[in-house]
């Protein structure tokens, strides 16, 4: 664990993207020696801190270059934020980019400020790519205007998603719920997120739609506890680790956070607040905590060993690992059923 914090100190001293790339590659080597199921929570926090430092450093370098390029006008306040697993504080080593920028400036300067932000986003995402964070295939990146705009425009857009609540709107809202500030005026992101979750929690029909949304994908476990492995394609015979309990736990907890108006940043914090508000029975909350640790452990462990990070051949898992994962997947099923029962009781109006 200490070696990860040493790495953070080294990253802090880095001055170029190349140096950051070297440190990023070193992560996997350092983690391989220390990864253990019992230590996974603190390990995951440490890993998240390393990524945060890398991203922060990359954005600082991008900011310098943008100012030097003298493109547009720097906004009075702006903040680079991350989403996805990095936003939730549980990234793997080879996580891709999910990021955005929020800024605040007088309306008459918005276009000029946006020019600055656009340049910053282009340089920042490019630096991150060079460091080892692949571009997001779903285009959830600062270069996409959906995720980089003024607070005013962002709020309008989110209000529209809440109002329409079509499946894509719900998907965007679930993505936005993971935003976490990394560099800049963090209060912009914190306030926006707080306001977003607050609005969502006051919209019963949206919550119902969201509940219906998060009960999919189903946990790939058969009625007799058999794993549903990929049948065809190059991953035939593999388990999709992200879909084997992890995503179901994450999304169900996000839904419950909305119900309880919890604007916590990470999944760990969400679960804590959910427990405090008794949104889940204490025993189930404890099981969810354990299951989530297991899922994070498997994702982290196999992301170190394979370039195809989301898939692991079933035969690679030993009997103990299979039993451990199955237990976590069953808890994810229970959690999804809890959500299902909850939304089934709500009226559709």
């Amino acid at each position: 664990m200490e070696s990860l914090y040493e790495l953070i100190q080294q990253i802090d001293q880095a001055k170029t993207v190349n140096e950051l790339n070297v440190y990023h590659r070193e992560l996997a080597y350092r983690l391989r020696n220390v990864i253990e199921r019992d230590e996974i929570a603190s390990l995951s926090h440490a890993l998240s801190d390393v990524h945060d430092t890398l991203v922060k450093k990359a954005v600082m370098l991008a900011e310098g270059e943008t100012i030097q390029a003298a493109v547009g006008t720097p906004p009075e306040k702006w903040c680079w934020y991350v989403m996805g697993s990095m936003g939730r504080g549980e990234p793997t080593v080879w996580t891709d980019q999910d990021n955005g920028i929020l800024f605040e400036c007088p309306p008459e300067q918005e276009e000029e400020c946006y020019a600055f932000i656009r340049h910053l986003a282009k340089v920042g995402t490019s630096f991150l790519h060079d460091i080892g964070y692949p571009y997001c295939t779903g285009n959830v990146m600062a270069t996409n205007r959906r995720w980089s705009q003024s607070v005013r425009a962002w709020e309008q857009q989110m209000a529209m998603y809440i109002d329409h609540h079509f499946p894509d709107d719900i998907r965007f809202l679930l993505i936005a719920m993971d935003m976490r500030p990394i560099y800049g005026a963090s209060e912009l992101v914190q306030d926006c997120k707080k306001s977003l979750v607050g609005q969502m929690s006051r919209h019963p029909l949206l919550l119902k739609r969201m509940g219906e949304h998060v009960i999919f994908p189903r946990v790939p476990l058969g009625w007799f506890g058999n794993f549903h492995i990929e049948r065809w394609g190059r991953y035939s015979g593999c388990l999709h680790l992200k879909h084997s309990g992890y995503v179901q736990l994450v999304n169900s907890l996000k839904f419950l956070s909305c119900v309880g108006n919890i604007s916590a940043m990470t999944t760990w914090e969400r679960l804590e607040h959910i427990r405090d508000q008794s949104l889940l029975p204490a025993s189930l909350a404890q099981k969810v905590h354990e299951a989530f640790l297991t899922c994070v452990y498997f994702r982290l462990k196999y992301s170190l060993e394979s370039a195809d990070r989301d898939y692991v051949p079933l035969h690679v898992l030993d009997p103990h690992e299979r039993a451990l994962l199955k237990k976590a997947m069953k808890v994810a099923q229970m959690l999804q059923r809890t959500v299902m029962r909850q939304v089934r009781g709500w009226r559709d109006e």
Binding site: G222, N226, R231, G233, S236
Partner: protein
């Protein structure tokens, strides 16, 4: 009319209706197979069903029927070429009180179905010429031999093998030929990756697959119930009942098995479950009680889904799972009477002995197993010899370019779906839209 004449008329009408139902199953196979394969091969896959039945009709008339049912020895019939009837020539079918022409027509339907099953293993990559040659040889030298062993007075029939309508004679035979073909042909281009993992090659029309399956289900009433070849005692109704119960159980068992195994309530799996159950009950329909029909159908429907996944993982590209659906289920159905043949029904049919469950001991089980193994071995060896010889001489498979272009255009010169595939028509429809 005398009671005898009325009986003759009614039995004849029933056999004619049954023959039409069984021959109509060719339409079911055309839809099932075309729906389960790709658009670029659809015309070929469906059209070859007519070619196949035409070949079977002539070859079975000239030689096949005589080898199956003609008087001869324990292995083949040696009399009755071109349906030439002499004294005692077709004694093996004397129990059926209908004219020879109808006996032929009805039995031709069976030979045609067996050949249609075999083609499943050839789908989407075999040369058209192979259909002509193998179709003819299958109808003369393969199908009739096993038919004779079981139904034509041969050694398996003498042992008391119970195969009422042909789980082994019709289905297992076709399936073994399909398996040999699919192994000798090799997988379709793109079916397996370099690391041997399988890819999905989805059929182009699931609705065709379902309708094809349903036509076969209905046709099976002719296949099984029609095999009584008589209406007098109403036993055909009982056979229809067990047939239907098995099919229903197979459908439900297959869709549940698919849901459990892969997490998807797969529609083609359900259709194959129906067919597997029907294949399995074909041998047993006249020998087992309704509850056993449900068990047999459910086991066949469920197990064949598992085997279809298993064989695919083992690198065998059986495009429409012919070996699982007709081979594995055929063996299950044939062997099932060794367990479930009830004394009451054995007495009615007068074939074999009661099964293990009814205290009949292992005798029938052994007879059934010997029948399955003997038939499978003969068909495997002869099919292999013929197909291997064809492979080494004229070749079994079209060229890679032809396969990629599709058999519709490369073997027949026109597409089954020209508006979707033929550049001339695709561009034309775009122009019209503009």
């Amino acid at each position: 009319m005398s009671p005898k004449e009325i009986s003759l008329a009614l039995d004849s009408l029933w056999v004619m209706i049954s023959a039409v139902l069984v021959i109509g199953m060719q339409a079911g196979f055309a839809l099932l197979e075309a729906g389960s394969t790709r658009m670029k091969n659809s015309g070929h896959v469906a059209g070859k069903q007519i070619l196949s039945f035409a070949i079977a009709s002539l070859a079975f008339w000239a030689f096949g029927f005589a080898i199956t049912f003609g008087a001869g020895n324990s292995f083949i019939g040696t009399e009755g070429w071109f349906l030439k009837e002499g004294k005692g020539t077709f004694d093996s079918l004397s129990w059926a009180n209908v004219p020879l022409s109808l006996k032929f027509l009805f039995q031709l339907g069976f030979a045609g179905v067996s050949l249609a099953i075999a083609w499943g293993g050839f789908a989407e990559r075999a040369k058209l010429s192979v259909y002509f040659i193998f179709g003819t040889i299958f109808t003369i030298a393969i199908y009739p031999v096993i038919g004779h062993w079981v139904w034509g007075g041969g050694w398996l029939g003498t042992m008391g093998m119970q195969d009422f309508a042909g789980s082994t004679v019709v289905h297992l035979q076709g399936a073994i030929a399909a398996l040999v073909a699919t192994i000798l042909l090799g997988p379709r281009i793109g079916k397996f990756n370099k690391d041997k993992t399988p890819n999905v090659i989805p059929g182009h029309n699931q609705v065709y697959t379902v309708i094809g399956g349903f036509i076969l289900w209905v046709g099976w009433f002719g296949f099984n119930a029609g095999s009584t070849m008589a209406v007098g005692d109403g036993f055909f109704g009982y056979v229809a009942l067990t047939t239907n119960l098995a099919a229903a159980a197979g459908a439900i068992a297959a869709i549940i098995t698919a849901k459990i195994m892969v997490g998807k309530a797969d529609i083609p799996a359900m259709v194959n479950g129906v067919l597997a159950a029907l294949v399995a009950i074909t041998a047993a329909c006249a020998f087992v009680e309704p509850w056993a029909a449900v068990v047999i159908g459910a086991v066949a429907g469920s197990f064949t889904f598992w085997t279809s996944v298993y064989f695919e993982r083992k690198g065998i590209d059986d495009p429409i799972y012919a070996f699982s659906v007709h081979g594995i289920a055929g063996a299950i159905g044939t062997i099932s009477t060794g367990f479930f043949a009830s004394p009451r029904l054995v007495e009615i049919t007068g074939i074999g002995k009661a099964g293990l469950v009814y205290g009949g001991g292992f005798h029938q089980l052994i007879v059934q197993t010997v029948g399955v193994l003997g038939a499978a071995a003969y068909v495997a060896v002869v099919s292999f010899v013929i197909l291997f010889a064809l492979k080494k001489t004229i070749g079994l498979r079209v060229t890679a370019e032809q396969e990629i272009s599709g058999l519709d255009i490369s073997e027949h010169g026109s597409y089954g779906y020209p508006e979707q595939l033929d550049p001339a028509f695709v561009n034309h429809s775009k122009t019209v839209v503009q």
